[in-house]
């Protein structure tokens, strides 16, 4: 997903791999090279919601 960027400041993301198979990264995170915000990847799907919209965000 080479056109993916940080939803907040639209800067590049660095990939940090925790677990992968032949085809894709299953778990890990995408970290914004500008603001440092980290976006989790679970089951191969990145969660690029702004942090305050994430399920685990304090209500």
């Amino acid at each position: 997903m080479d056109i993916i960027c940080c939803p907040l400041d639209k800067h590049e993301l660095d990939l940090e791999v925790d677990e992968r198979d032949d085809e894709e990264v299953l778990a890990g995170s995408l970290v914004c090279t500008e603001c440092g915000e980290s976006y989790p990847i679970e089951d191969g799907i990145p969660n690029l919601l702004p942090p305050d919209m994430r399920e685990d965000a304090p209500a």
Partner: protein
Amino acid sequence: MSVSDAFDEWARSGKDQGMERRHWHTAKHVLARMPVESEARSDSEQSSEERSDPRDEGDTVLDLGCGSGYAGRALRETKGAGRVYGIDAAPEMAHNASSYTDDPRVGFAIGDFEHLPFDDDSIDHCFSMEAFYYAQDPHAVLAELRRVLRPGGTFYCAVNRWEEHVHSHEWEELVGVPMLLWSEAQYREAFREAGFAVASQDRIPDTETEIPAESDFPTEDWETREAMVERYREYGTLLTVGVNTA
């Protein structure tokens, strides 16, 4: 309840597939109109260094509020789209969508369409079915689309709920989340304000939903057969197509 909590629940109970089945009646006509190219366009001037640009392999399409992700799968199969991305704010929806395909050129992400996680000028076409009116700030969605779409890129915005469509007014109460209710003219105006040219706007009838015989009315959902006919055969789906003239 938030919109994405509500749709997480829908996804868990398989309602994403029910929506796919129902929405397909009109969505397929919307998708058929999209000028998605399967190969690099002759007008795109690319140096050999840029050959790995996805565009060399066909247009890149974004599906906003993708649900089960049928639109992206269909555009890969019928038009040979180069890459397709579906985003949905409900994590369970994105997970379901991802489980329905193993095409490496179809990708899903959890994301908010008011905060698109895509580079400027990175998308050729955007499709959205039955999702736009959940926007808290629809103008922000349009501004984001203007940013990510290439010049000349299109936004296909399809909704089954809008002002003129009287039978859709009560939905907000039924679903329990706030929903925008623009008129057809308001869609055109908002598109233009955001920097889109409005290329077309029309109602696409649903000719496939079965309508019971007169004697079966009132049904659970419909007082009169006439109203149900109007809902499906006359109003159907409102499609507004914008072109980024930037």
